[in-house]
Assembly symmetry: C2
Homo-oligomer: 243 residues x 2
């Protein structure tokens, strides 16, 4: 049932590198056979025969696709259709941020801009779809932040959960994954800043303000609460540029 169009790469036509050709064929195979995430792909050797390439080339192509989470390779088991996460975006952006963050942190600042824009832009409709249960969970997370901040501890995971919970009821997977991705990028790049302990207390309070604005059903208030929530990190970035 090997159906990878075994046309032997007619004649001299060789547009790009071999691995790119192979990667394209594998993607076409997935589309043509309507495979879904988690489905098994042919073995490397079968792919070699099907596409007429060496195993090295096939492997390099598969590694490219796995870096994009289009496929997922499990040692000793097989190659599967990937989960299509935004891992590639995170890795790429995070590295860019680390590279630029040695001097200024302008990439980090841009990430904060995007996060704020998305959350503010979706705030109004978030209020409409947030039910009582969601509001209670957000409030509980804000409580937890305030407790941890009072103890001088950080609350990375709680913060992550908060922002995801805020966007979750919109029912848009992509927005949820972008929220997650940009949060991760900030979590990776931000530690290169020195963070003031009092900033954490302020940040916890600002999350409380967001919850309050949601409960009050006040879109404009929510937008400004979100903006103020990002003020401490912006201040840290500004401090880092001119210390």
């Amino acid at each position: 049932m090997t159906t990878i169009d075994a046309t032997p790469l007619r004649g001299t036509e060789r547009p790009g590198p071999r691995r790119q050709e192979v990667a394209t064929r594998i993607k076409e195979y997935i589309l043509r056979n309507r495979l879904k995430p988690g489905n098994l792909l042919p073995t490397e050797i079968e792919l070699c025969e099907a596409v007429g390439a060496s195993r090295s080339s096939v492997r390099e192509a598969v590694k490219i696709l796995s870096a994009l989470d289009i496929v997922e390779v499990r040692h000793g088991h097989g190659t599967f259709v990937g989960r299509m996460s935004l891992n590639a975006l995170v890795e790429s952006l995070a590295f860019r941020g680390l590279l630029s963050g040695e001097e200024d942190h302008h990439v980090l600042g841009q990430v904060v801009d995007v996060r704020q824009t998305l959350e503010q832009g979706l705030a109004a409709q978030a209020i409409d779809v947030l039910d009582e249960e969601h509001r209670a969970e957000l409030s509980a997370l804000a409580d937890e932040m305030e407790n941890l901040a009072a103890q001088g501890k950080d609350f990375l995971e709680v913060d992550r959960a908060f922002h995801l919970k805020l966007m979750e009821p919109l029912g848009n997977d992509l927005i949820l994954q972008l929220t997650e991705a940009f949060w991760q990028v900030q979590a990776i790049v931000a530690p290169t800043l020195r963070t003031e302990p009092e900033d954490r207390v302020i940040t916890a309070q600002r999350h409380r303000a967001i919850v309050d604005a949601v409960a009050a059903g006040d879109p404009a208030g929510l937008r400004s609460a979100i903006a103020e929530h990002y003020a401490p990190i912006r201040a840290s970035i500004a401090r880092a540029v001119q210390p």
Copy 2:
């Protein structure tokens, strides 16, 4: 001057696959030496010696990094620090869209949501920073769209230029690249829809409305003009689900 910390991977410690180890080392090398995009990296053979891995592992690692545009390889020339584009996001998201687009087009719909959210959220400040020259260019692009639409032609490139020009004066590289990336994803996935010729005429007119709102300095009008601009593609998606 090879400085890739040639610790021979002490003893039995082998957390992940070899290529992941190598990829991490290469990233560390770039960061440690403060390399910038375009700078030359050591040759594959030098990397092999430095990290104590075989050619195959090094190549697979480099291919992963090149898929993320962290490095860029030029045949017969060498390996360089990459341009850090969002190519990985485009490839990953576009494939996801194609995969889901065989039945419904919910991924395409989510991409449209994100594009609209970003543009609406930035519309207000875009008005503030757009100068006369920008407005003239936007107007010229809208003219061009209307002309092409009247002739029944498509205007993909003009549309792309329009949306980039709208976000350009904000001075945020990341937002510009996200605009470009999501546009590309839509351009790749949308052709799987059948597009009505009259939709193009309407879309051209909606771009004109955006220009007018910018010229009038009317943020609320601009936001609704942007929303209406995406109406035709939303309608196409809805038609595709139940034809």
